[in-house]
Amino acid sequence: MAGTGLRAWAGHRIRSIPSWQITLGLALLGLGFLIAAQLATERPRIRYTTQERAPLIETAIDLQESQATLSAQVLQLRDQILALEQQGQGTNAAIRELNDELEDARLAAGLIPLRGTGVVFQLEDSVEPAGAVENERDYLVTARDLRTMVEELWLAGAEAIAINGERVVPTTSIIDIGGLILANSAYLSPPYQISAIGSEDLYEQVVSSPGFADLVRARQDAYGIRIGYLEPEQVDIPAFAGTVTLRNARPAPSEAPAAGDGG
């Protein structure tokens, strides 16, 4: 009997709520969610409102897209050259030997994507609120944090490193511009994933180093910068997609190759 009563009560209540109220309720729920999402998106970066920024932002977005397209083109051309070189070496021992040396040089220069054992560290901005007299920027991951992480990985024996897909090579600079971090002149979007290939105990080597302990103390403990890690079975590191053409440096005379052709 009680069940029948409950169904009757529930039926009465549902009939008594006008449909517009349900619609309005749902819309207000969505509104609240979006306002919260918008506030979360904006925090904790400072926002500027000057009008001249709009065209600059559009230009920057267009240039980022162009840069990504050109990087893909560089990688594609290098793949085509590699394929042609391998086809053309035939049975000529001298060419085979040179191509082997070329492959080693390309591996050393970061021009070939790699797969192997290793670790992926992730650095994320703090979610803790900055105090009234504190600098909000201290609660964000900085270029120096990433450089420290890269340095600790090299020290622990990493053989190849990439940050959010940007290969770290001899000419890589990691810099702050405003609240952004750039590597190889490409914008890195948070969270920052630093992938490294090395021995199977690379992670243990890194976390047991005094430099890593200093980083955790100075950034995670003091400001809440979130430092996490993954140890996937295989780590993939992409090839460097920038220029390796030297404009000012040239091989020292003792290093210059002898010219010659073979068929």
Partner: protein
């Protein structure tokens, strides 16, 4: 009358909802944090992107030339050893496997500098377009680490003297300008470590040695 008011309320809420959905989607789509940058920072960012794009265009032009020569040689049934040697030589120079010469700057460092500050200096040089760097005669390559506290700095496990030189090959004017600009690394070090002095000198010809490290990976395999 009441029904009309209800409809107007729903319409108003829907309008605000739509507006917020669009704003949120645009913010997610740009996903770039560009909204947090000042005009000045955006200008620097755009300049960086333009420089990166120029470099990539030049690289593409060079690669296209190489590809065309390779394809033409293959059609003729010949392989140019000279071309392969040139490419090998150029990549070895870039990677640090070969000694290199060229114009650039030397930075004389005196005083108890620490590892992170020296790392900042290297980063600044790279950002200004340095193509090859050596510290105290040790070539800096991918994998080189600079460590240690003030006056106790090591590069690749080799301790540095109290005074030593950082040499960088690149555009001498650009490198000098970047290091000595207002708020640049020289000014920063002068402000934060008054005991340390950095003296930048443009040089017409520097010679930097090859690295002694083996840079061919043992734990990673090519993923072609």
């Amino acid at each position: 009358m009441r029904r009309m008011r209800n409809q107007l309320t729903i319409a108003a809420v829907s309008f605000v909802l739509g507006l917020l959905v669009v704003t949120q989607l645009r913010a997610q789509a740009s996903g770039s944090g560009l909204g947090g940058m000042s005009s000045q920072d955006l200008t620097v960012f755009v300049a960086n992107l333009n420089a990166g794009i120029d470099q990539r265009r030049q690289e593409i032009a060079a690669l296209e030339r190489d590809l065309a020569t390779l394809a033409a040689n293959q059609d003729r049934g010949v392989v140019s050893l000279g071309q392969v040697r040139d490419e090998l030589s150029s990549i070895r120079a870039y990677a640090g496997l070969a000694a290199v010469v060229g114009p650039g700057v030397t930075v004389s460092v005196a005083g108890p500098i620490d590892g992170p500050t020296l790392e900042d200096l290297i980063n600044e040089l790279r950002g200004a377009g340095a193509e090859a760097i050596a510290i105290g005669g040790i070539r800096i390559v991918a994998g080189s680490a600079v460590t240690g506290g003030p006056g106790d700095v090591e590069v690749e496990d080799s301790p540095l003297d109290d005074t030593f030189e950082v040499s960088a090959i690149g555009g001498a004017e650009t490198l000098t300008g970047s290091l000595t600009r207002s708020g640049g690394i020289v000014a920063q070090v002068a402000a934060t470590s008054p005991d340390v002095s950095l003296t930048v000198t443009p040089v017409e010809r520097l010679e930097l040695p090859a690295t002694k490290r083996n840079l061919v990976p043992e734990h990673g395999s090519p993923r072609l």
